[in-house]
Symmetry: C2
């Protein structure tokens, strides 16, 4: 049901907001009426932040992570280990790995995973630019850190095949029981994998 | 957990968006990354619509509905029955009644209901301005259309008492079984009310 609005400005704001994913016209109306009850400053801060975000953010020429300059802060940081590149699906994954505080190498953002069902082939992802980096930079290890899904596995295997001839070391992040999860609620495939990839108990005390 | 962002602009956009009700930092980040993937035009339309909304929308001097001029479109419309005023809680309720297409009188937006628990007394609502309207305008009937809650009932009764001496006719929207609802799932209070306020069966064929 299309609602009739008392104001063209309200109508416009609701239409624009409902273009965002997960925000329907009903939610958009609720947000718009909230904005109307706040100080004008709030609407201006919000509106300007969104425009500046889109205008100011670019993608790093090397790793394709979001950046405010041609080369992102991570790629430009001399303290990072430039011999290791962690291949991730998207910008959010970079944030997740950064938040662990335990990775000090560089990244390479693919922009997705191979998914024939969604029409995403390897040519739509930043895979060729990854191969280029192996040739140009002094990279010794590529860590594949994609989702443990069929699409992630397919993409891992595709990259593995493409990189095989370069002789670079290719690793994959560990798959096993999530920290905090009970064995009872962990699926058999993960359990099987966790047995196969078991580690020396004493290893955990060394780092 | 506070996330570290790769970009100050992203950080700002997420912070501003997460000030909106029901939008946490996680949702805000998802929305921001979506905006980054769209054309710049989209961010500008959205940002501008929000600023124009807050700057352009005012409240009608008579009924306190949102408006783009001193007197709103409904109050200014000569085809509307200016002898009837429907008292509602908020701007959204005006839209709901307008969408029924069956009301042709004016409105009066209270801006809430009396709720001592939330610190809302009668003086915080547009009740005095309603009394003023009765004196100044040629109003014959005031329809109370507040929520069927304790707060709504309290507010109805308060307004009823304040308007008693003006001699204006005071009515209340019908309470009964919601259209489409089954008797089995209707509460006893509503059922009791629906019996008490039963209408002539033949009346429904007359309008």
């Amino acid at each position: 049901m299309e609602q009739e609005f008392a104001s063209r400005l309200l109508e416009d704001a609701v239409t624009e907001m409902s273009r965002l994913p997960g925000i329907g016209r009903k939610t958009a109306l609720r947000l718009a009426l909230h904005i109307l009850r706040q100080e004008p400053q709030m609407a201006h801060s919000l509106g300007n932040a969104l425009m500046k975000l889109r205008d100011g953010v670019v993608y790093c020429r090397k790793c394709h992570n979001i950046s405010e300059s041609e080369i992102c802060g991570i790629c430009a940081d001399p303290r990072r280990d430039s011999s290791t590149v962690c291949v991730v699906e998207n910008v959010k994954d970079v944030m997740s790995f950064e938040n662990t505080g335990s990775y000090h190498g560089l990244y390479h953002v693919l922009g997705g995973v191979i998914s024939p069902m969604d029409g995403v082939g390897p040519e739509k992802l930043e895979i060729s630019s990854l191969i280029d980096r192996i040739g140009k930079e002094d990279i010794k290890e590529v860590i594949l850190a994609l989702s443990a899904t069929m699409e992630g596995d397919t993409t891992n295997f595709y990259i593995y095949r493409r990189l095989a001839e370069t002789g670079v070391k290719i690793t994959q992040i560990a798959r096993g029981v999530s920290v905090g999860n009970e064995i009872e609620f962990t699926d058999e495939v993960t359990l099987g994998r966790s047995l196969l990839n078991r580690t020396l108990f004493s290893d955990q005390f060394q780092s």
